[in-house]
């Protein structure tokens, strides 16, 4: 059963990632990206990391995907339907294939294939303890950064003279 879920999630993630970039309408691409982010949450559940999966669904599918779809609808324009230039397309395919094949061959030549999961999966309590005790300062900085980026985004998107 986990094997079947793994194969299904793999197919879903790769096809939706490609469709997000290649769909004619950007809105469909945005929805496809949201499905791709959901399938990543599925991988996290398969990897015994339900907390990360929950976080992924809340932050990505709940907030970021909705934000993206919103923006796409705000700046929607028929002009986008024009096709990308063939030259860039070819360079992109070559570049992507080169990166993929290079990393793939690199990993096939190691002994990573024989590594099997061992030990217990981390519990929520352990994650919380490590996050607060060892990385508490990083957590504070992250909170500051989130607040700063939110204020920055609001300032950027604000329309002048409409107070």
């Amino acid at each position: 059963m986990p094997e079947l879920a793994f194969v299904a999630l793999t197919v879903l993630a790769v096809t939706t990632a490609i469709f997000a970039l290649e769909s004619k309408e950007v809105v469909y691409g945005a929805i496809s990206l949201a499905i791709m982010l959901l399938s990543m949450a599925g991988f996290f559940i398969l990897l015994d990391a339900p907390f990360v999966a929950m976080f992924q669904v809340i932050v990505y599918v709940g907030a970021v995907a909705v934000l993206i779809i919103f923006t796409v609808m705000l700046v929607r324009e028929e002009k986008w339907l024009k096709v990308e230039s063939g030259m860039l397309q070819r360079i992109g395919v070559i570049g992507g294939l080169a990166v993929g094949v290079a990393f793939g061959l690199l990993m096939l030549n190691t002994t990573l294939g024989s590594v099997i999961a061992s030990g217990e999966a981390a519990s929520y309590a352990q994650i919380g303890i490590v996050m607060i005790n060892d990385y508490g300062a990083a957590l504070e900085v992250l909170a500051l950064l989130l607040a700063a980026s939110l204020i920055g985004a609001l300032m950027l998107a604000r329309v002048d003279g409409e107070e």
Binding site: F6, M40, V52, Y60, T71, V75, G92, V99, G104, M107
Partner: protein, 102 residues
């Protein structure tokens, strides 16, 4: 349970798709999609290694959580920039934006 290599191959595939999109697309929103795909491949790597390495399997998840939060901030600022560019230029073609540097 699948082996480490299978998960890494998925990560590589998503990374390759992201690189392809980053190079070939001219629409700023598509570029943002590409960056999200690339970054998700990285986060998947963190969780995979935290599960498969024998000793410490918590820290990878903690870093994945930090990464997801950072990516949310990045997406918010990126989308705000796209909105501003669209309002000023009525277009979000990144090749057209090159004249900004002059």
């Amino acid at each position: 349970m699948e082996s480490l290599l299978q998960y890494l191959m998925i990560s590589v595939a998503l990374f390759a798709i992201g690189v392809y999109g980053l190079v070939s697309k001219r629409n700023a929103i598509r570029l943002l999609f590409s960056v999200e795909i690339l970054a998700n491949a990285g986060v998947l790597n963190l969780v995979v290694f935290s599960r498969f390495l024998p000793a410490t399997n918590v820290i990878g998840q903690v870093f994945a959580l930090f990464g997801i939060a950072l990516l949310a901030a990045e997406a918010a600022v990126g989308l705000a920039l796209i909105l501003v560019a669209y309002r000023i230029r009525e277009d979000i073609d990144v090749l057209e934006m090159r004249e900004l540097k002059e």
